[in-house]
Amino acid sequence: MLIEFIRITNWRSFHGVNDFFVSKDPAKNVTLIRAENGVGKTSLLAAINWCFFGILPPESEFENPTKLVNAFSVEHDGATKAVVEIDFVHEGKTYRASRSYDQRTETTHPLRLSDLLDGGEVPSSKDRPDRFINSVIPREMAPHFFFYGEATSRYTGATGARKFGEAVKGILGSTVARMALDDLRKAWQDYNKQASDNTSAEAQAAERAIEEADQRIATARENARKYDDEIAAADARIDKLNQELAGAKPAKEAQQRRARLESQLASKEADRAKAMQRAQSWMQNFITSVLAEELVAEASEVIKNEDTRGKLPAPYDEKFVDEILEDGICVCGRPIEKGSTEYDKIKSLLDTAGDQAVMSRVMTTSTALGRLEQRAERAWADYERNLEDLRRIEGEIQRLDADLTEISKELAANPITDIAEKEAARERARIQRSQATSRKVDAQAAIHNLERQRSEAESKRDELVKKSEAARRFVKRAQLSAALTARLESRLKAEEEAARAAIESEIDAIVKRFMRKPATVKLDSDYQLRLFDEKGVEIAKSTGENQLLGLAFTGAIAKYAKEREKDDNDILLPGTVAPLVVDSPFGHLDPLYRRGVAEFLPNLASQVILLVSTSQASEAVMTTLADKIGQEYILTRHNRTDGTGKQPETIDIAGKTYDLTAYGSDVDGTRITEVA
């Protein structure tokens, strides 16, 4: 798909009809739209997503989602509707997608699709436009083509990894295969149930226990996911407030101090996790020797006593004495008569003689006991060292926590209300995060426990079912369902692994070319994106580096989707060619990284629409993008007020001056102007 033309009518801040062409030229595939904050960049991105899929951004990023019609148009022109129309080319044909919203009834109308023939609109033969759009850009892939650039810096930690994972699965078009997996699992479950129904009451009871455990596991998993979302939402709020505080002069220094302390805290928490891990390993390694310590001491004592009494090791063994008596010849060569004094004397040696096998066993036991004693001694030394480490780390964590609390108090007491309010909001978000984290840990423990119960019930059920003739028919079907599930899962896993490796290699190439420090990228099998230095040591990533990596990732998956466009895979949806529409791609980046993004993004997608503020469209960015820009526009904010006391906001492009903000206008709202 290539977008050709976009028209928005009375959409949010945009007054009246505004339209613009999108560059389709492969050599100049960038359409650049410049606007200052609050003028309409995010609204424009939202318009594209909403038109195709009826999706609006979350309310935290898009206030008043029921007020989609431009306020000035409602008040002065009597407008009641907002309309977004997008003309696009797909497989040689041109279509117009349009969606409208009626504010009186708060109704979003369904997507309309028309064919465009010679510029004229004719009803499309597609009976379900939403399904058609879904086949052009699968809904699961859309968020990775139309997105807010700064949000990519949040692709860190566990929630970030989940986003990466979802993106790779989304871009692979694995939804259908996953739905098939769900159906196969249901079929497998049904067959197992039917098998149990044909057996004893005991097997049926086990089956019911499995079902009950399944339901409880599903609920616990749902809760864990909900807590994950709460953690991610709190993280996003904290991130945003951190940035706002760092941008406010009176809070800047304290915020910087906090960032440093939080980084130290994260490192100490990692140390604590390692120490806890060591403590766990200690249990596994030494628990036997520690628990057996007393027993070992007693056993050693017994052996020692025997040794003292001269029985261990015995000076001679039974076999040796028996042989002398049997042969009737002493070791000195003299004959020994049965019944003689010598014979009886030698025979009496059997009372103290040792059995060779027993002696050997006693010696082995003695050696093992010695080893256990040594291990027990080492165990306590290790235990003390671990405990000391943990105490020290806990102390450091407490100190850092106390310093962070001080900074928080300091900011909360700031006489500037805005800063105090932001800090209070941050503290609320932090508490919510911590509560959600603790609930998630509980949910995970519950899941673990339920899974164990389920596994026990399952083993019992399987044992009982095996004994029943009547159940055999269903057992075979259950076995086939399980085998098909495993095979489909393993094929999907292989596809995901290939995608992961290709995307990792693309990001690595970008990092090698554009990042200022030498680094290698690893996208783990669990989708954690990590950076390593030349010695293989992991490098911490700054916010800017995270954004660069996030954009590299998004570009890489757009490229991967493009490469898979003609893929004839029997379990995955084919890839797609779609425009990359990025709002504020340069937010946290410094000039070097901005230049890098400006260079690599146009090369990864067929068509790129960049929505940037004038400060983001720096000279370095513009110089790099210059040859790639096919269309360029300005979003101008029009105000009816005369602007007394306000700084004029204009921009000079190619010798011509354009208003970024205009005063004394007829309307209040945003208008699009083409850069000539």
Partner: protein, 67 residues
């Protein structure tokens, strides 16, 4: 996506054991039939549509004697 994760793991472990008992090529043929059927349902009803385990069972029934 529905279906408990625990059950997934169980099906995976048991399935891996069972997979050796069936012919891989034959299993791929059945998988193709199932995915085709599910794809039709997906394009008809979207991701939120109900699953079709009964259809999947019909495909398994039709192939059980062949594998």
């Amino acid at each position: 996506m529905s279906g408990p994760e625990g059950e997934r793991q169980m099906a995976g472990e048991e399935g891996a054991r069972e997979a050796d008992a069936f012919d891989g090529r034959e299993m791929d043929k059945i998988i193709r039939q199932i995915v085709d059927k599910v794809r039709g349902n997906y394009f008809q009803n979207g991701e939120t549509g109900r699953g079709i385990p009964a259809e999947v069972k019909r495909i398994i029934e039709a192939n059980i004697d062949r594998v």
